[in-house]
Subunit: 226 residues, 2 copies
């Protein structure tokens, strides 16, 4: 690999991690805004999304420039294609954090609803998956990435559980229907954030092992971390 | 462009259009299954998803092979990167069609719900956006792609309207809450399908014009078709 290409790849790595950190912050703040009924924090997440969008555009441009100028092959090519896809996922995670923040801004203006669902636990799980997927990229660890894949079922189960609880609560407290539907929405946005973390983890594994693991999750075995 | 690269790009074009047609069929059948309360049709959509997943994996492999073997530049490079991203979008459209089909399979077992929402109209709009986004790719038409972008607000408005109607219906017919929430889900899946059509259209414009239009939708002006 030429020194130029090496430098470009290092720059791309730094840029995608910066975008990842921005996306993580957005998710964390948006879910805190729900839990703390903090409208100001929710508004901040919404305002900050432009910066994420700009960063995504810059990263894609850099990937295309690197592909055209240095014509990388093998692992370098796979890395750049992975960055292109992960870039897309992170931008959408930012959009979903905005969606959660919009729900938070609304919920903060309503009387609190009390349901038997641990929203903060679901939020933590989604954030943990996102963080691990980015760590698996930095450390090129297929083991860490596989841990992310195992988390996906857990989040799906939480989301399904939320469905049942909200339906029940609508029956017993029909006056809070609107807030409950907004909460249900927020839980589905978290589930989609976890989906993107799963996509990122799959791309990392794909890049590392050069094998396609997508659509074959039932075959995964957890492994110790490399 | 070498004859080999030309042939590879033609193959990729054919493959992505085949995947697009499969995704369109899945969306059409899933929404028909909702409208006609047809459980058998819904089950068929769910069964057929494996074929879409396989096709996506093959297309990504072909893109990587083409990038490594022929090291395309300029418009060819942009085309292959666009195919990589559109491939991803189409696979997720297939997943969303499965989600709609799962709702359809459930709803078919329940008494029909009557709400003042034109679900088939929303389904037609989402399908039209998907079809136009693929047409814009085949014809390399930025004009057609821009029409897709304009449709996105319409679908979002329909989805927001659905929200209000379902909330209202839950109040007046609490016995149908479960079916109503499933219908609301189906409408949100349609909205996400339209989002993917929008992503595809943006990638087509980006490829054609070499400019980034993402995150700048407010500046679009509808144009006549090229």
């Amino acid at each position: 690999m030429s020194a130029h290409l090496f430098r470009e790849i290092e720059n791309l790595k730094r840029a995608i991690l910066t975008l990842g950190a921005m996306a993580e912050t957005a998710v964390r703040d948006a879910t805190h805004a729900i839990a703390d009924r903090n409208e100001e924090l929710a508004r901040r997440v919404i305002r900050n999304d432009d910066a994420l969008d700009e960063m995504e555009v810059q990263i894609e441009e850099s990937c295309l420039k690197t592909l055209a100028l240095y014509q990388p092959v093998a692992i370098d090519l796979r890395f750049i294609v992975a960055v292109l896809k992960i870039n897309n996922d992170l931008e959408r995670v930012g959009d979903l954090a905005v969606n959660v923040a919009e729900r938070a801004a609304f919920l903060a203006t309503q009387p609190p609803v009390h349901i038997a669902f641990d929203f903060p636990a679901m939020a933590r799980k989604a954030q943990e998956m996102l963080r691990k997927s980015l760590d698996s990229l930095v450390n090129l660890s297929a083991g860490l990435a596989r841990e992310v894949l195992l988390g996906d079922d857990e989040i799906d189960a939480m989301n399904r559980q939320m469905y049942g609880i909200v339906q029940e609560a609508i029956h017993t407290h029909p006056d809070t229907t609107e807030s409950l539907i907004h909460l249900l929405s927020a839980s589905r946005h978290l589930e989609r954030i976890a989906d993107h973390a799963t996509n990122i983890a799959e791309d990392v594994i794909y890049m590392i092992e050069g094998i396609i693991v997508r659509h074959k999750t039932e075959e995964y075995q957890p492994r110790s971390r490399e």
